[in-house]
Symmetry: C2
Subunit: 192 residues, 2 copies
């Protein structure tokens, strides 16, 4: 396989964006796989902030970090990602979202486009130049297509002078496979 699959490409983008010593954000901690991966990228001099609105996700993530001996490299926060800027004010190296529901939990608890968009807006302010926000968009569940379309409308409207917005998607797979939208900040936004 020469064309990277979607989840592998998400990791490649995060690796290119986040340097050792950076602050990184997992906006949807879920079962903690990405939080753990981010701790490897930021290393002992960096830090990861992971957000989730479900207690089950917080516990899974904290357990995964503990099992891997890296609990000190991450702060896991029970709060919606639309409140990221209340918890993090430093410059960040990169961020990831897995949109949809928590695997293995209640499928009616899903991410929503309005809070996701609020979180992206806050992260774009905090993001370093050259930093990347990766959205892995699962859209097969109920309401997934509306969320996807609202997000695509939002990211397509971002000014290309400040952000480059890439869509990376396999076209001939069955059952609504996830795809990636990646946002790279190329210039600081004007002060409001």
């Amino acid at each position: 396989m020469k064309l990277q699959r979607v989840l592998q490409y998400a990791k490649t983008l995060l690796s290119e964006s986040i340097d050792a010593g950076d602050i990184a954000i997992d906006a949807t901690a879920g079962n903690g796989h990405d939080t753990l991966f981010l701790t490897e990228l930021v290393g002992e001099k960096g830090h990861v902030y992971a957000f989730d609105i479900q207690q089950q996700a917080i516990e899974s993530t904290e357990n995964r970090l503990k099992e891997n001996g890296v609990s000190h490299l991450a702060t896991v926060i029970l709060d919606g990602h639309e409140h990221i800027s209340q918890h993090v004010q430093q410059q960040i190296g990169g961020a990831i979202f897995n949109l949809g529901y928590l695997p293995g939990a209640n499928h009616h608890v899903v991410t929503k486009s309005n809070t996701t968009i609020e979180a992206i807006e806050q992260l774009l302010q905090l993001l370093k130049i050259g930093g990347i926000i990766v959205l892995v968009i699962y859209h097969g569940h109920e309401g997934g297509k509306e969320e996807r379309d609202e997000l695509l409308k939002f990211v397509s409207s971002l000014p290309q002078k400040y952000v480059h917005v890439l869509r990376y998607e396999f076209l001939n797979q069955k059952n609504d496979p996830p795809f990636i939208v990646a946002l790279e900040k190329v210039k600081n936004f004007p002060k409001e």
Copy 2:
């Protein structure tokens, strides 16, 4: 810039697909830029076949190869790419199409979806496992959107068991920028 621009990503994909000693195809020779790039990839033990339906393109491409001292590494053919299999029967390492019109020439001479699809079908048979066909889709000209949509319908219908089809596109750029569709052969098609 960490997210590769479209033309750079096309080159990256060709580099990953085509090895020294391979046969490679430029299905739309145009001004010969890609033909020259392909000769660098295949090297002295490989060969490039470049196709175009316009005499002007053939001459531009031959001149570019001559100036770079690599005329012996490529055969430039005045014929439509839907006839590729009449000229090439060997296994190929990879291929590229730039869809649209020849820059600097008559804008009414454009690629058409039906002949492009015929060419892709022939190339998929010739392509090695792990080989990639790169389509750079320019769709801003008259008829470009119909061609784009017919091609997307075709490639989306290819069976994922044999071919992976990736779309790589920047979403927030103005003026119908080109995007990439890349086809990677992952398994031989059943004999007919």
